[in-house]
């Protein structure tokens, strides 16, 4: 059985990553705008608009402004979106419409390398977007340094986790329109209930428990700790969760894409 064969991944996968970077740079103006403009819009809407209604929020034994409470959440949502959309819609376009993977498969690249590169690229996009967004937030004093710098490597890990599960959906989705389903059932609930816009403690216990099983909850919690400049058990627990999540869904993504492509 071919699916039982050991996976053949070499550092050649960087070539595919470089290819994606080259395409990204060819259209960099379009790519840079959303991560710069979006956070500014969010800060205006939530900070000035909603923030005025909410006032202060209790966090880590202190009373903090609503803007500083949601800014880390916006970072983590941005990490999730960038990798997830890259490895669903964008990867699907490359696989299905542009047949880019087919062309790559005629070269010494293996399928595993192509998919690995796609996911690593999705994580890279998360990191690029995070760096841009952090720059904007820093101008408003919303990130505590130097600990806040750890958000950059974190964004890569988070991106890798979300890219891996996105790629799993790419492996099974017959049509590009069907990505609406995981977005509606998986991404949006996390966006709303993952401890992003209000403290988790406001939820009933059972809902807190469910939210605790989802990756964005952990990513948002870690990002918030780091943004406020402290570390506690939540950071380590969250990192362990995201690592385990990646270790499950990355091989699964390769397995599912193999089943889809190698026929």
């Amino acid at each position: 059985m071919s699916s039982l064969k050991l996976w053949d991944i070499s550092f050649r996968f960087w070539r595919v990553w470089q290819r994606n970077l080259l395409v990204y740079r060819a259209t960099w103006k379009v790519n840079f705008l959303p991560p710069i403009l979006e956070p500014i819009m969010y800060l205006l809407a939530f900070g000035m608009g909603l923030g005025a209604l909410v006032g202060k929020v209790r966090y880590h034994g202190a009373s903090v402004s609503y803007v500083s409470f949601i800014a880390p959440a916006l970072l983590s949502i941005n990490i999730m979106y960038n990798a997830f959309f890259e490895n669903t819609y964008a990867s699907f376009v490359r696989m299905y419409y542009q047949k880019t993977f087919d062309a790559m498969m005629t070269t010494p690249l293996t399928m595993e390398e192509v998919i690995t590169a796609e996911i690593v690229w999705g994580a890279t996009k998360s990191s690029i977007a995070t760096a841009i967004m952090m720059t904007v937030f820093s101008a408003f004093g919303l990130i505590a340094y130097p600990l806040g710098l750890l958000i950059l490597p974190l964004s890569f890990l988070g991106g890798f986790a979300f890219g891996s599960i996105g790629m799993c959906f790419t492996g099974i989705s017959p049509r590009i329109e069907l990505f609406n389903l995981p977005i509606f059932l998986f991404i949006t609930p996390m966006f709303l209930f993952g401890g992003t816009f209000f403290p988790m403690e406001n939820l009933p216990l059972w809902a807190q428990f469910i939210a605790g099983t989802l990756p964005l909850t952990h990513l948002a919690a870690i990002t918030r700790c780091l943004s406020f400049g402290f570390m506690d058990g939540r950071v380590l627990g969250g990192l362990a969760y995201l690592t385990a999540f990646s270790l499950v869904f990355f091989p699964m993504a390769i397995y599912m894409m193999r089943r889809r492509l190698i026929r």
Binding site: R15, R19, A26, T107, P108, T110
Partner: protein, 303 residues
Amino acid sequence: MDPVIDAKQLRKSYGKVLAVNDLSFSVQRGECFGILGPNGAGKTTTIRMLYGFSPMTSGKLRVFGLDVETAARTIKARIGVCQQENNLDPDLTVLQNLAIFASYYSIPTKIAHQRALELLSFMVLDHRQNARANELSGGMMRRLVLARALINEPELVILDEPTTGLDPQTRHQVWERLESLKAGGMTILLTTHYMDEAFRLCDRLLIMDNGRFLIQGNPEFLVREHVGRDIIEVAEPTNALRSFVDSRGLQYEDLGHRLIIYAEDHHDLFHEISSRYSREGYVLRMATLEDVFLKLTGRDLRE
């Protein structure tokens, strides 16, 4: 010397469907070998097995004497593949498309650039090297895909329907390029629907249908062997003509509205038919590979 491709009892099944069924063939160094067949015959499946994209269900397949199941990466480094679709990177320029592809083969940047320029001038694309791939015409895209398949200086190029959908000018240009590659000693494997293309380019070819091998050989020889030298085509044949053809014991195919008589140097026969059954719609023409193809694979529509 080892053949470049050596396929023995190749078999590929998708569930209960046998896409390729006990196909055996070999391609020698420097040869242009064609695989012909109607849609769904198993041509593309065969080709995909060659570069390790589709694992075969059973059989033995060696390229350059290496087993495709264990040495796919080494084999792929030495071949160039031109797939049916123009799967270029639409957002990148012509030159970037070649450079990126070269990087997949780990070709050093400088050498890759030099080679890209040479290939672009070979494919008459040098004037468009900085155009984005999605700005090219269909013919130009095809030539770029061909150039891309040559970026690693392959010993074997595999072409899956290289000229489908091209205008006559581009087709002829592509043929000339392929002929000059062949003259340079390149081994070529191609699939095609165009009999004139196969006849012109291939030293040998095989015709397959429903995944099965039908015949193999030199195209001229195959025409001579299977349909003879000449063809007399009669539109709207009368029954009198039919019984005449029968009485002469001639080989023919009756399509209802059209009678195709396979003949051997039958100028006299043609004159006899056209004078005795003096009606319009008689043609005497040279037998072609298309006649062989239709005779063997039938005239039913596929798909």
